[in-house]
Symmetry: C3
Subunit: 138 residues, 3 copies
């Protein structure tokens, strides 16, 4: 069994934002030399997500507004913010979108449907954050 480990770094200049990262994950898969296996991609932070959906700007704006409705950024609303934080909403938003994706590796490629793309979802940005790529297989 082979394994490959890499971290990607992002600095989203706004509080909330989405970054298309499929090409960065594909580059790690090529480096790994793995042909058959599983590829885990996860946020290393608890106020961010990695998820798979459509690379379409209108939809990303829909996610932003929809998540704001489900878990509003309101510094006074949440218990967590009494610790001096103001990012409780980011912890909640990330649970809706998920921490991680696991993607099959088949014949040396990410085994995707036509429109599947990997995104980094930031909910408490304006600082440097990291994503882990771990690939195992052979």
């Amino acid at each position: 069994m082979k394994s490959h480990t890499a971290t990607l770094e992002f600095l989203v200049p706004s509080r909330v934002g989405f970054v298309h990262i499929t090409p960065l994950v594909e580059a790690e898969l090529r480096k790994s030399g793995i042909r058959e296996g599983l590829c885990l991609v996860n946020a290393l932070h608890i106020t961010a997500s990695v998820f798979i959906n459509d690379d379409e700007q209108g939809l990303l704006e829909d996610y932003r507004r929809w998540l704001e409705g489900l878990a509003p950024h309101d510094p006074d609303r949440w218990q967590h913010n009494r610790t001096g934080e103001d990012n409780a909403d980011a912890h909640l938003k990330r649970q809706v979108m998920g921490r991680e994706v696991v993607v099959a590796v088949t014949e040396g490629r990410l085994h995707f449907g036509t429109w599947e793309r990997i995104f980094y979802g930031e909910f408490d940005g304006r600082r440097r954050k990291r994503v882990l790529v771990k690939i195992i297989g052979e």
Copy 2:
């Protein structure tokens, strides 16, 4: 390390629907000959889910109504629908229910609790769609 790859195909005749797929995944596991490992099952589409929950019709109806409340199918409500689509809600519903499940394989079987069952969740049906089963282990 062994690996096994298969795709399943579904055509749900309504916009939203749920299909119990555990027996189909178990059949792929038997074909694989894998005794210990991990089994990934994911939608190959971004308006559908694979999730694990109870095979009970009342609960599936609860999911349908609850998701409709969280992300209504309203062609005029979402930015994504300005691209000529009407399925923005399906992309949102799928994030709540998730894209994929990872199930342990132990002694040649899906390692499940008593009531765990795998479902394909369709949120933009009436067309042919696919699910990927990828099993690795030995």
Copy 3:
């Protein structure tokens, strides 16, 4: 390829509650002797979650209240409860928080960011329930 399988048991004395389980998972990883691979941790029940977030009591209380708003515990509200159950809300809450996490194993340790911690999330407690830990790699 090596694999390691273990189940953890919990009895949360209230209907809803959260248990920090990172040390229990780390203990299983040490027993496994696996240095590079993937670690799956999942609930074996469909009214409970395993998720990764912050070990901060205010935030856990925020999760409890937020989930209660999204999917209220109302025995009369849901179809599933007509089967004699009263826990439909628990099946819904678990979908928001997720069934499982997959964590990378690197150099013999759970490959985590600074604040990542694994939690068992109970939404229908007051009875004994189980979590599965499955580690594969070498």
